[in-house]
Symmetry: C2
């Protein structure tokens, strides 16, 4: 077996170095490479400066056989990626007539006149292969030399995806650089802090353990990865044994083995079981509904949801009795249960999820501090509620965490009723 | 004036190289450094491997006076940042008794027993200064040597923020590394494609222009930055002159000069003008409401919002006449206008924003393709509507774009009524 092909990623853009936007493209490319078994050796961010881009490309070529350079291919004069790559490889830039014609056609199709600045997008290092871009005006390109390759890819995420799928992935496989990934198992858990998790896995997470375990936490979701020691049958059997132990130990927390998105796990279980659902949100203000309606096909089971911020809205839209609000306050077990039951009644949904809390920054009291959130799930008319106190950090964090907690409670109700189970990746 | 201090950022984590999560911390640190005038020279991502972290730190120290290493300080055995930095600087790791005591107190306060793995978090390179972490269990640390400094910072974004504000920023200023940033003006525009923008700015975006202009696009928002040629009065006057020209040329598109978040521009204008608002969303499923309710204090003007996915929900919640739905379909000018007017009537809000469209992936027809979205804004009972056809790409992109378009329409109505104007950064 030949040595594994290494990849080095370069992301270009002053906006990445200034922090105006985060580099999400490199993560996307890393996942795409991982799927065909290529490991990313390094990621480097370079400014919109021709010599800097050139130097980053030279460094990347020292580390890896495959170099991707993302961004800086647009029509504006601060887009210097094509110049930087040409300089790194000591190639001149030449205008490609075919690319000019394609650009002209793209604009004509949309009834827009092509500008002179757009013509820059038809410049390529001599000898480059053009990577067509069906989603935009900036084609990418590929230059191969001495067994190594540099790919220039557009920065807008949608265009990157299209060019990758059309032009890069097929070429990687044809080139023989795509191979089988190291087998791994991934688990997505909700509602367990990292230090508690570390205690419960104990030596499974030691550096020398086989399979090797890693974990990350984001928005209350803990992702645990088990990676086999190799591709052989013994390593795979060891991996599967540990995966089975892991499943048993964390049965109450795992919601998926195939995807991070809790809303997908819930949404797909709802659709598969034809369970009608609704939501009644106060402090999350539509965030849980926005997450759940991101799942394709959800309209089959979700007809309506409620954002009831004010007490009066809870009364009129959800029929929460005024005296409950007056006696217990909007952030209370009594009110959140009435919200869930009211939403279920108003829509005829079998499952209703309700959230009410204090997202901050103001509005907290000693008894009801910022970060206090009440949740309820009504399923077949039976209501379950619980209280969570999130660290009083920023408003968005409390809201995101609360929205996911509501979705997890919905998932648990479905799982307890036998209508949901963690989906496996194979 | 001494030469500017350079910073090099290292982000540690297999999850960043595999693409499981994107590196948002580096963008955050870059912004924090930019505020005190430090420029980021490079960003590099390193795996959870001691020699790799050590090599990245060595490279970073060759490029910059200030090196930050983020992530990999947690309690689990795959957290190797402290070991990597110690190796890079040839220092041994020693347990700090004060840190052990603080850790123990942190756990005691939460009624939890400290685990042995948590004790790893009290290991530091000999001679390091500990950076206290009020938000979590992993303290950071700082090692200074020969005029250069390496900072180890926790990876969880909230902890990073707290440690930065408590321990890093004051030290930077005291150290004399924080200086005045190069003056710049930033503009946030909605609804203008990048190539059209490039045409309308023409030579303002040339590489040799002063002030230097850059632009980036995300979620339909175009951010244009004008950076002065220096810190002197003449350079600042040139900057302000160009900024005034820019303002006049793009008066219809600029919604802010201080923040990217369109929802904040709208939300703060609503709050300042005490304009009650509501939303009626179909294809965006609560996304516009979720964005707007992220603005602190919005509860003063937003009592209720509607997620009406199904036709029946549009009838019952918004009183959209059944015959309109039957005759024109849910994605039509007639229905979106009825949604906005119905939402305003149901809540008594002065401004109501409505969205209905086909987010995909299915549900499109030749006349009404995926990506077709209708918008309406009702203000003082007067309704304005418009149609947009987004590129039929992925569902999330259409939804995000549509939610922001709805918010921009609301902003325009307020601006036209003299109730909103782009906020300046000074």
């Amino acid at each position: 077996m030949s040595a594994p092909v290494r990849a080095a990623l370069v992301a270009v853009g002053d906006e990445l170095l200034s922090g105006a936007i985060a580099d999400a493209n490199s993560a996307w490319i890393a996942r795409a490479l991982g799927r065909v078994g290529l490991a990313v050796e390094s990621v480097e961010v370079a400014s919109d400066d021709e010599p800097t881009v050139a130097a980053a490309v030279v460094r990347a070529l020292e580390r890896a056989e495959l170099v991707t350079v993302t961004g800086g291919l647009g029509p504006t004069l601060d887009d210097v990626t094509r110049h930087g790559i040409a300089r790194a490889l000591a190639l001149e830039l030449v205008e490609d007539e075919g690319a000019v014609a394609e650009l002209a056609a793209w604009f004509a199709q949309r009834g827009v006149v092509m500008s002179d600045t757009n013509r820059r997008q038809a410049l390529f290092p001599r000898g480059a292969t053009i990577l067509r871009n069906r989603a935009g005006t900036a084609p990418g390109f590929r230059v191969e030399r001495a067994g190594r390759a540099v790919l220039a890819l557009p920065g807008p995420p949608r265009e990157l995806t299209v060019v990758w799928n059309d032009e890069v992935e097929p070429w990687l496989r044809a080139r023989g650089w795509g191979r089988e990934p190291i087998p791994e198992r991934r688990f997505y858990l909700f509602g367990i802090p990292e230090s508690r998790f570390a205690e419960r896995v104990g030596p499974w997470m030691a550096r020398e353990a086989e399979p090797r375990m890693g974990c990350t936490v984001r928005d209350g979701v803990l992702t645990a990865t088990l990676r086999a020691g190799g591709r052989d049958a013994a390593a795979i059997a060891t991996l599967e044994g540990r995966a089975a132990e892991f499943r048993a130990r964390f049965a109450a927390e795992i919601y998926s083995e195939s995807e991070w998105e809790l809303e997908r796990a819930l949404g797909e279980a709802l659709i598969a079981s034809a369970t009608k659902v609704t939501l009644a949100e106060s402090c999350t203000g539509g965030l849980a509904a926005a997450l759940l309606t991101g799942v394709p096909g959800i309209s089959a089971v979700l007809a309506q949801a409620f954002v009831t911020y004010a007490d009066a809205a809870k009364e009129t839209a959800l029929a929460v009795p005024r005296e409950l609000l007056a006696r217990h306050g909007a952030v209370s077990r009594e009110v959140v249960e009435a919200m869930a039951l009211g939403a279920a009644r108003a829509t005829g949904a079998r499952l209703a999820l309700a959230v009410t809390g204090i997202a901050g920054p103001s509005g907290g009291t000693p008894e009801k501090p910022v970060g206090l959130v009440w949740f309820a799930s009504a399923f077949d008319g039976e209501v379950v509620s619980l209280e969570r106190r999130f660290p009083p950090s920023d408003r968005e964090l409390v809201r995101r965490w609360a929205a996911r907690t509501a979705l997890f409670l919905g998932w648990k109700r479905l799982a307890d009723a036998g209508l949901a189970r963690p989906r496996r990746s194979d």
